[in-house]
């Protein structure tokens, strides 16, 4: 077993990600039609959810599962909390709240890449970690909305500070109930839950029927999707040239901090190496699908360009290229 950076990089799917980066940076007209990219994204959610559900149906909700899930939930509360504290005075407080939600939540593709990494290196991991992933989406969003409400309350006392934002917020701020509805009915989120449940119900019999679709062609579709992600990241990078240095640093350093906290927690709880990598990656990754979609309504005062770019253009490639092998190398040293 060779957990070196290179070993991760020669995975064809990862190479297609690099190729996408390259193609977009030489300004090629290569593009994946949007409906196809959306389909791939739905496919990955179904496949990952379904496989997680099937795994869970064989293992059951053991105490190991509960610990993994509990640890993930804890991270989903911790990360936005300290992220907000760190950013509060370094950027617009609404942006801070939205960024906190972004990093408290997760990136499914990063999670998938970590699973692929583990599979390739023949390291086991539990199906319940997919449950953990699903459960990490919402707490971060709720926390962020609460934080934003807090900020709004303060602003009203001190209206001189940010007239524009206050004006927006006076304009019927969206209620927590609405936010919760949006969070739970969000397509990506719901599809993940649905597939997980279906996988759980149908178990190994269902798996056998679905395997050629959900497992065998998975790698190929992942490669195609990562190609699109590469194109997208490169374009997003171009658009975010004027992103604040502080925020770029945050997007590159926080993944390591969050992964560090997660690894420490997992070590204390006696989690397995595989589960620990997944927990680290969940903590380290930021959402660029569900959370930005919801924050636009929930925290309209924040700039979508900012948190979306941070998570997609910086944190995502960082985790894919450097993060996953780095975290695992550290875990491997600590555990042995």
């Amino acid at each position: 077993m060779d957990f070196s950076l290179l070993n991760n990089l020669i995975d064809p799917a990862i190479l297609f990600f690099f190729f996408g980066l390259l193609a977009a940076s030489v300004r090629s007209n290569l593009e994946i039609p949007a409906p196809i990219a959306k389909f791939f994204s739905l496919y990955l959610l179904i496949a990952i959810g379904f496989k997680g559900g099937v795994a869970l149906s064989t293992s059951g909700f053991t105490s190991t599962a509960m610990i993994g899930i509990g640890a993930a939930l804890l991270m989903a509360l911790l990360v936005p909390a300290y992220s907000f504290l760190i950013l509060r005075n370094r950027t617009n407080p609404y942006n801070a709240a939205a960024i906190a939600a972004t990093y408290g939540s997760i990136s499914a593709v990063t999670f998938i890449a970590a699973q692929q990494y583990l599979t390739k290196n023949e390291v086991d991991f539990g199906g319940y970690m997919t449950v953990a992933m699903v459960l990490m989406e919402s707490p971060a969003i709720i926390m962020a909305v609460l934080l934003a409400t807090l900020v709004r309350k303060k602003e009203t006392f001190n209206p001189a500070h940010s007239v524009g934002a206050a004006a927006v917020s006076q304009n019927k701020p969206i209620s927590l109930k609405e936010v919760l509805h949006e969070a739970f009915t969000d397509g990506a989120h719901l599809l993940l839950i649905g597939s997980l449940v279906i996988g759980f119900i149908t178990g190994p019999a269902g798996k056998e029927m679905m395997a050629p679709f959900t497992s065998e062609i998975f790698k190929g579709i992942l490669a195609f999707f990562l190609l699109e992600m590469g194109l997208l990241v490169a374009r997003q990078l171009r658009q975010s040239k004027d992103l604040d240095k502080t925020l770029v640093s945050f997007a590159l350093i926080m993944p390591m901090v969050n992964a560090g906290v997660a690894v420490t927690l997992a070590y204390t709880l006696g989690m397995s190496q595989g589960d620990t990598l997944l927990l680290a990656v969940l903590a380290a990754s930021g959402s660029y699908i569900v959370v930005p979609a919801i924050c636009r309504y929930a925290i309209p005062e924040a700039k979508p360009g900012v948190y979306f770019s941070m998570s997609l253009a910086f944190t995502f490639p960082f985790n894919i290229v450097v993060g996953i092998p780095l975290y695992y190398t550290i875990i491997d040293v600590l555990w042995n």
């Binding site: 949007a34 969000d186 658009q239 979609a293 636009r296 309209p300 360009g305």
Partner: protein, 97 residues
């Protein structure tokens, strides 16, 4: 041919369904929608990427009487205020059939 108002607006795709329901409450039930427009405005670039339609705009076109156009504007304006977009009104001739 009969003179009509041509109301067109660009709004967040996720709001289209809700908005059309609001319009049907004031008896505006004729419209045309083109999905998957993207663009840029005060709130920066929007759409053109894949993520769950969240950043996509839709283009909506309604031909209607002047009175109806005013009602439509009142329904659309708060959505534009909250989530951005634009709304244009111009004159056209409706071909009777």
């Amino acid at each position: 041919m009969k003179p009509v108002k041509r109301v067109e607006f660009i709004i967040d795709s996720l709001m289209v369904e809700t908005l059309l329901e609001s319009l049907s409450e004031i008896n505006i039930t004729s419209y045309t929608v083109i999905r998957e427009a993207y663009g840029s405005g005060e709130r920066g670039v929007r759409g053109g990427d894949i993520f769950s339609g969240a950043f996509d705009n839709s283009y909506v076109l309604i031909a209607c009487t002047e009175d109806e156009s005013k009602q439509i504007i009142e329904t659309v304006r708060p959505v534009l205020k909250n989530l951005g977009g634009m709304c244009l009104v111009s004159d056209a001739q409706w071909v009777l059939h």
